[in-house]
């Protein structure tokens, strides 16, 4: 790309430019360019979203699905209050608890991103070590989790944590079987009868392991890009001043990585917050819905329970939750950007 020219050239063309861009201010052609996408988005995105808000005030269900069936009844804010209250929905979905799902979802996203970013940075720094052998080979291997479709990763990891024949238990049996006896490694990672570790069910840790495997490589790629743009003189100067390795890491590397890593961590947080496949396929929400996320619960309201009205209200809640998260993360990104 010819981006270099843009920087190299002074503003000699600015007069010409003003004239040219003046002419393009005719907004008619702008709307013409927007028209095709606008019509399509209007019909299949904006209209359904408005339709969804309307649905959220009705008891839209299976009974209203046929074309000639009666329209759904208006129920006011009942769907919204029922979701927060939970009692009515628990009659249909025994494990439903909106606030438990929300808090688990927030914890799930935050805990994952911490691991993703820190492991990503550490491995990027490791692979950036001067004189390390086989760097290219390792980089080629480490990128593999990124290239596999999410649904495949989720279903494969489900089998890995299988109680009887899964290789996760197999590996533990192989490593520690001689100490505790092989029978103690039929751990029901993803079953209903799994044990808790502290306040969290075991399935959370199985999901966490799978998602760490999935998530750190991309963070590492981003960190590598940022690492290679740190001038070497800084390290040399620090060495002359007698800085130790850890001092250089915390004093130079981490601060220099921050502008690239924080936007990406925010991106990762929202991505993990809405990560459908792992929870849906691996733990299936077990035990008793405690590893359910907002996205999987929203899907199950539609797919399993056909409660379209409730699902619509649930989605409206999701929209506002994500709006708040975006506003907060946006502020974090901006605040850290201006600090440099």
């Amino acid at each position: 790309m010819a981006t270099k020219n843009l920087e190299a050239r002074p503003s000699s063309t600015s007069i010409k430019r003003a004239g040219f861009w003046q002419r393009s201010r005719d907004s008619r052609s702008a709307y013409l360019y927007l028209l095709p996408a606008g019509i399509v988005m209007g019909i299949i995105t904006i209209y359904p979203l408005c339709y969804q808000v309307w649905m959220s005030f009705t008891d839209y269900g299976l009974k209203n699905l046929r074309k000639d069936s009666a329209p759904p009844n208006y129920v006011g804010l009942n769907n919204y209050t029922d979701i927060l209250d939970g009692d009515k929905l628990r009659a249909i979905i025994p494990t439903f608890d909106f606030f438990r799902i929300l808090f688990f979802n927030l914890w799930w996203a935050a805990s994952n991103v911490v691991f993703h970013v820190s492991i990503g940075i550490l491995i990027a720094v490791l692979l950036n070590t001067e004189g390390l052998w086989f760097k290219k080979l390792y980089r080629a291997i480490y990128i593999l989790p990124v290239v596999i479709p999410a649904i495949i990763i989720a279903t494969v990891w489900k089998n890995i944590f299988d109680t009887q024949s899964g290789p996760a238990n197999g590996l533990l049996r192989f490593l520690f079987g001689f100490m505790f006896g092989p029978a103690s490694f039929n751990i029901p990672w993803l079953e209903q009868n799994q044990p808790d570790i502290g306040p969290l069910p075991l399935a959370y840790f199985a999901l966490l392991i799978a998602n760490i495997w999935l998530g750190w490589p991309l963070n590492s790629v981003v960190a590598t890009g940022a690492l290679q743009s740190i001038p070497k003189d800084m390290y040399e100067a620090a060495t002359v001043d007698g800085a130790t390795g850890p001092q250089k890491f915390f004093g130079i590397t981490l601060p220099m990585l921050r502008p690239a890593m924080i936007p990406f961590a925010v991106f990762g947080f929202i991505g993990t917050f809405n990560l459908f496949h792992l929870s849906y396929f691996m733990s299936e929400g077990k035990p008793f819905g405690r590893t359910e996320l907002l996205v999987t619960q929203a899907y199950k309201l539609v797919n399993g329970n056909q409660l379209y009205g409730y699902a619509a209200a649930f989605s409206v809640y999701m929209f506002f939750i994500l709006l708040v998260i975006s506003l907060i993360t946006n502020r974090i990104t901006k605040a850290t950007a201006s600090a440099d």
């Binding site: 040219f20 360019y33 024949s165 490589p217």
Partner: protein, 312 residues
């Protein structure tokens, strides 16, 4: 998520780039340190490769073993692949038919949304008009909502289009529209980000030579944005190739079923009877084409990922 061009370039350099000191001899690492670091690297490589090697191993094990436990199978065989290509699930469809349905969704949705998206992106990037900020905010707001959250509305809305026996919801057309509904805002946003980084000088030169708006767009901007178009289309393709939740919710006719649906049928509580070898062979056949393309285009993709939105 605004990523500046500098950041993008940095990310673009990514894993592949060589340091400026590529011609100088690198510092040599003391042997003890080298060995320790190599051990760590090998351990990380082991954790990354373990699930992959396991799936490959299981896919080669014979079909009469329902749950193979060893990583290197005894009596390795390609039976599972043969079985999966012929009739992967209990439904009377072949792998090729499933793959063709997935391909239709993937190609259709990505082509459609990139074509519509680039024109809208051009308007947002190069024109100043009154509703610009409002409309861009609308695109962003839609982008923020994961597409799962729109499923109730899309399902009931598309279900109303019944023509005789044909219901648009219960067809690949309906699923395609639902996927496009999420993909198009992403395409607009991603392409706008890229168009913003293209310098305007060339367009000005074109205008001086007497080209009009449309000629500039078709002859100058479109060719220049080929990499971004390709990456955005590729994202769309990846999404469509393994799209699950719309397919699973909308489609009831086995002739319309897709790869992701078959995969879901082979796992989970309904799949106690499916041998793991069969599931693994199927998973590999689905993942392989995507993975190969991804690896070839890795350099572009990483920047596309970071510049893109948050659509899940």
């Amino acid at each position: 998520m605004a990523v500046t061009p500098t950041q993008q370039r940095r990310v673009l350099l990514g894993f592949r780039s060589k340091s400026k000191a590529g011609f100088q001899t690198e510092k040599r690492l003391p042997m003890r340190q080298q060995i320790i670091l190599q051990l760590i690297c090998l351990f990380v490589a082991f954790t990354v490769l373990f699930p992959i090697v396991w799936v490959v191993g299981v896919s080669l094990s014979p079909l009469n073993v329902s749950r193979p436990t060893s990583i290197i199978p005894e009596n390795a065989t390609f039976d599972a692949y043969a079985k999966v290509l012929d009739k992967p699930t209990s439904n009377p469809v072949t792998f090729i038919e499933l793959a063709f349905n997935s391909l239709k969704l993937a190609v259709g949705t990505s082509f459609f949304s990139v074509m519509l998206g680039v024109s809208a992106a051009y308007a947002f990037s190069r024109f100043k008009f009154r509703a610009r900020a409002t409309l861009m905010l609308a695109v962003l707001a839609v982008l923020m909502l994961p597409s799962v959250a729109t499923i109730a509305a899309l399902f009931t809305f598309l279900n109303q289009f019944q023509f005789g026996d044909f219901n648009i919801r219960n067809s690949l057309w309906g699923v395609g529209l639902a996927i496009t509904s999420g993909l198009l805002p992403f395409a607009i946003w991603n392409l706008k980000g890229y168009l913003d980084t293209i310098p305007k000088d060339l367009e000005e030169a074109g205008a001086i030579d007497g080209a009009n708006r449309n000629q500039i767009f078709l002859r100058i901007v479109l060719p220049l944005s080929t990499p971004a178009l390709a990456v955005t289309a590729l994202f769309g393709f990846m999404g469509g190739w393994t799209e699950f939740y719309f397919c699973w919710q909308f489609l009831t006719n086995p002739r319309d079923f897709t790869l992701a649906m078959a995969l879901a049928n082979m796992t989970g509580q309904y799949a106690r009877t499916t041998p793991w070898a069969q599931f693994s062979a199927f998973a590999i056949l689905v993942a392989l084409p995507v993975a190969v393309v991804y690896l070839f285009l890795q350099r572009y993709i990483v920047s596309g990922l970071t510049a893109g939105g948050t659509k899940g």
